[in-house]
């Protein structure tokens, strides 16, 4: 079900991308169109997409709605089965993370199974650290009791034994997190996220001073976060403190395009309302596209977990934001303007 919505995301990305190239061609095409006898039937693809986007915006709004609903269902399922709406990693749950730099190939599956059989009660995961395809080391995480130093030493010696290497101080990194602290971190980070959202909402209201358009911006940010959480869960990504920070970044980034859109549509007077929307799409999609490119480069080439997690969350969020801004927010805005003009009895 959820895969569906990812697929839609990408489709829409392409749709809007094509629109993005619009503004220039329009100017060139227009005089030509006027010269020729109007070819009514064979509309080109760009034209028809543009037309569909203009006329059918209400129907299009089903996409973000379904996306949000699916995300909420999937998160609810997650809460019902695990009791937590995200999967927490050891930095939010307590445990150890051991990073060992090593250029030699390591039997990672063997290491994991052996460690898991020796420490049966613990959730252990091991994987290789790659940079642009080459091994640079291994990372092992385990939710072993961090307050007990003997446990950690035992765990370290088991790793050393399996890999037949010597683990000397300074040759590897170890991060130990107490479980009570992990829980504190988690709660604090969630609170921070909540306040970030609240502060952002206040600023948006203060700037636009009209309830429905402001709510549309806030809803877009909300949908971005919810959809991203759902996708992150489905991808099996375990979130750490850095991941929560990434959601904060997402709040900032996702409202960028919504602010651009709302400012241009509500506060500007030149051109028609739809032209202003299209110009926002063009600017906004350039912004999102550059961000996505940078983020994608980082995901492919980084060897650092913190950075990869932040970037993955941003990538998912930015993709979701394309739909939530250019379909959902645009839809609500147009809906609002239509109703407003009907009430005041005049057209824009």
């Amino acid at each position: 079900m959820e895969e569906n919505s990812i697929g839609q995301e990408q489709n829409n990305g392409e749709e809007t991308k094509e629109i993005e190239d619009k503004p220039k061609p329009i100017k060139i095409e227009e005089p030509i169109k006027k010269l020729e006898p109007k070819p009514k039937k064979p509309l080109n693809i760009k034209e028809s997409i543009r037309n569909f986007y203009d006329k059918q915006y209400k129907k299009l709004m089903i996409i973000p709605l379904i996306m949000l609903l699916l995300a909420i269902i999937s998160i609810s399922y997650q809460v019902a089965t695990t009791g937590d709406f995200i999967q927490r990693d050891v930095t939010l749950k307590g445990g150890v993370t051991i990073t060992i730099p090593s250029e030699k190939p390591v039997d990672i599956a063997g290491l994991q199974s052996q460690l898991s059989s020796r420490f049966k009660e613990n959730d252990i995961s091991a994987r290789t650290l790659k940079r642009a395809g080459t091994d640079v080391g291994i990372i092992i995480t385990a939710d072993i009791d961090a307050e007990n130093k003997e446990n950690i030493d035992l765990f370290l010696s088991a790793i050393a034994e399996k890999l037949s290497i010597k683990l000397e101080e300074g040759s590897y990194s170890i991060e130990v997190m107490g479980s009570a602290l992990g829980a504190d971190f988690f709660k604090n980070s969630l609170n921070a996220l909540l306040f970030s959202f609240l502060f952002m909402a206040i600023v948006v209201f203060a700037v636009f001073r009209v309830p429905i358009p402001s709510l549309a911006v806030i809803l877009a940010a909300f949908s971005d976060i919810v959809v991203t959480v759902a996708v992150v869960n489905l991808l099996g990504i375990k979130l750490g403190t850095a991941g929560i920070a990434a959601f904060l970044m997402l709040i900032g980034y996702s409202v960028d395009t919504d602010i651009l859109l709302t400012t241009r549509v509500l506060k500007r007077k030149e051109g028609t309302e739809f032209e202003r929307i299209l110009s926002s799409v063009s600017t906004g999609m350039t912004m999102t596209l550059t961000a996505i490119t940078a983020v994608a480069v980082a995901i492919i080439f980084t060897q650092n977990d913190t950075i990869r997690q932040i970037m993955t969350i941003l990538l998912i969020g930015l993709l979701a934001d394309i739909i939530n801004t250019w379909i959902q927010n645009v839809g609500i805005l147009r809906f609002y303007l239509e109703r407003k003009s009907r009430q005041t009895g005049k057209w824009h």
């Binding site: 170890i174 600023v203 920070a245 900032g252 980034y253 506060k267 030149e270 051109g271 961000a291 490119t293």
Partner: protein, 584 residues
């Protein structure tokens, strides 16, 4: 013609106030970062107290001093030192009492290599005659007078022998000479980070006191360059307001920091009354040199039921108030006689963290006397005699540290320990630079495809890269450590910068297409959008100051400062550049 036009535009750009401001900031950043990639040699991180380097007059760098101001070792015995390997090889063949000529960028030092010795206690015993001057009451001519009396007594102690362990390390902790004023955070440089949580709520003054005494303790262990920060969770009623103390020791190891959590509440009591406590108020001087501290020559080591016990002693000087307290408390005590010795009826009991460390008999001559010079003693045990000596000396050092620095205002719990290997940090920096460049090229490519105008591309390139540099300059100026979180913050700041530049470009080009507005108006419109998104992202980052026990502060700070630099300095400069370059 075109050339004249270009010249005119360039002149216009460089005379614009916004551009001048931007250039000034860029220059400041350059001075602050002080990049010097060809810096060679090894920099001094810290000097161990009482080491030969210390005695030669080399000093540990001042706390918080800029990396580029660090003393750098240029040559040892006229052999040039270019890197760590050179340094270690040149100090590898030290011989005792050999003199070393060490040249730094600040001066020339002559070090004499000390001998590393160890005092071991033998199983043989020896008779020792000790002389003491005691004061006694004597009746002379019917009146009671206090007289000084010299008595000698014979005691039997273990024989000790001092053995040489070869040359002692010259006591300099070094690292490769810094190539700029940027400080690498712990995840990039390697070291230990611990997060401590006080068991009870501390006032701000107590937190400062805590930080101060911890710093002093670490300094006694020869560790400088440490970062001690306090952090708090969301304050009530929004959160619990948890307090944390974050300690980062670049190049340190776990053993160094375990001692930090010990509260070190030292008290010397007679009965239930405290005579003196650890810290500067009661104790004005603690002897740490060999002549008045070490294994107690009077008692040495003894064996009992398979275990060895060695006693240590060191002298301290009490403040007048503490001495007076002692006098008042001893005045009322009785004198008891134990064999030949006369003691007071109560003992002086030393407590460390509410546990008794040692009990000392008080000589009868001290009754009612405000004596400021006191000897503190204790013991260490071990399965072998050598182990007992080592443990005893370790306990002594701990006790001395506590007596000097005083107790921490509260008990601390270690909640997190990270030990980070320097190898990973190096790898990370290389990787980060590579990714940064690649992402930059990719973004520039997209911008070029979108606008196909060199007069838009060039300002974007210039502004975005300067933005990173100004942000780094700021980090160097406020002594901020660049860690992975801070790098993430820089990425956001630059990413937002690119976004804003796209908005400025589109707004100005759109205005041009509409042909309605003058340039000022166009820039103003662009800034209306930029300012709003600036405000939202900034307020969204603020709560991070209270999350993750301060580990995310760096992230929040770099982002917020980066955005501020952007909206105040680099964005206006970009607007002007675009205006001048694109205007017909």
């Amino acid at each position: 013609m075109a050339l004249v036009e270009t010249k005119r535009k360039i002149k216009k750009i460089f005379t614009s106030f916004r551009i001048i401001l931007f250039i000034i900031f860029l220059l400041f950043a350059f001075v602050a970062v002080h990049p010097s990639p060809w810096n060679k040699g090894v920099a001094i991180r810290s000097i161990e107290p009482n080491s030969s380097a210390y005695l030669a007059g080399i000093k540990s760098p001042e706390k918080g001093s800029a990396p580029m101001s660090r003393e750098i070792i240029k040559s040892i015995n006229k052999v040039n030192i270019e890197n760590l390997a050179d340094y270690y090889s040149s100090i590898s063949d030290l011989r005792v009492n050999k003199s070393i000529q060490l040249k730094t960028n600040k001066g020339l030092y002559r070090l004499t290599v000390k001998e590393k010795t160890k005092e071991i206690t033998l199983n043989e015993t020896i008779e020792k005659i000790i002389t003491e001057i005691i004061q006694a009451n004597e009746t002379i001519n019917g009146t009671n007078v206090l007289v000084n009396k010299t008595i000698s007594s014979k005691i039997i102690v273990n024989k000790t022998e001092i053995i040489s362990l070869g040359a002692e390390d010259i006591g300099i902790d070094v690292y490769p000479a810094p190539t700029s004023n940027l400080r690498k955070g712990l995840d990039l440089e390697g070291g230990v980070r611990i997060l401590l949580q006080p068991e009870e709520k501390l006032s701000k003054a107590d937190v400062d006191l805590l930080k101060e005494s911890m710093e002093e303790r670490l300094n006694i262990y020869g560790l400088s360059d440490i970062v001690i920060r306090s952090a708090e969770g969301l304050p009530p009623p929004l959160g619990k307001g948890e307090q944390y103390i974050l300690v980062e020791i670049p190049g340190g190891n776990e053993k160094d920091v375990r001692s930090l959590k010990e509260q070190g509440k030292f008290e010397a009591k007679i009965g239930n009354d405290t005579v003196f406590a650890g810290g500067k108020k009661d104790i004005t001087y603690v002897c740490r040199s060999a002549d008045c501290s070490g294994i107690d020559p009077l008692y040495g080591c003894s064996a009992a039921s398979g275990q060895y016990l060695c006693r240590f002693r060191f002298s301290i000087t009490l403040s007048k108030e503490a001495a007076q307290r002692q006098a008042d408390l001893t005045k009322v005590l009785d004198i008891v006689t134990e064999g030949e010795q006369r003691y007071l009826s109560e003992k002086l009991i030393l407590f460390l963290d509410n546990k008794g460390v040692d009990e000392l008999n008080i000589g009868s001559e001290l009754k009612g006397k405000a004596e400021t010079d006191i000897q503190i003693s204790g013991a260490g045990m071990g399965l072998t005699q050598q182990e007992a000596v080592t443990n005893s000396l370790k306990n002594m050092k701990k006790l001395q540290t506590i007596l000097i620095t005083g107790s921490l205002p509260v008990k601390l719990e270690i909640v997190k320990i990270d030990t980070i290997s320097p190898a990973l940090g190096e790898e990370f920096i290389k990787n980060a630079i590579f990714i940064g460049l690649l992402a930059f090229i990719a973004v520039i490519a997209i911008i070029f495809i979108r606008y196909r105008k060199i007069q838009i591309l060039i300002p974007m390139l210039v502004i975005s890269s300067s933005e990173i540099f100004i942000l780094l300059g700021f980090a160097a100026l406020i002594n901020w450590n660049l860690d992975i979180a801070a790098i993430a913050g820089i990425i956001i700041a630059v990413g937002t910068g690119v976004n804003d530049q796209i908005v400025i470009t589109d707004e100005t080009l759109r205005g041009e297409a509409a042909g309605v507005f003058n340039w000022k108006e166009r820039i103003k419109r662009a800034f209306a959008i930029i300012a709003t998104s600036y405000a939202t992202i900034t307020v969204a980052m603020l709560p991070l100051f209270f999350a993750g026990a301060g580990l995310l502060k760096g992230f929040a700070l770099t982002t917020i400062i980066g955005l501020l630099i952007g909206i105040l300095i680099t964005r206006p400069a970009f607007g002007i550049m675009i205006e001048i370059l694109s205007k017909e």
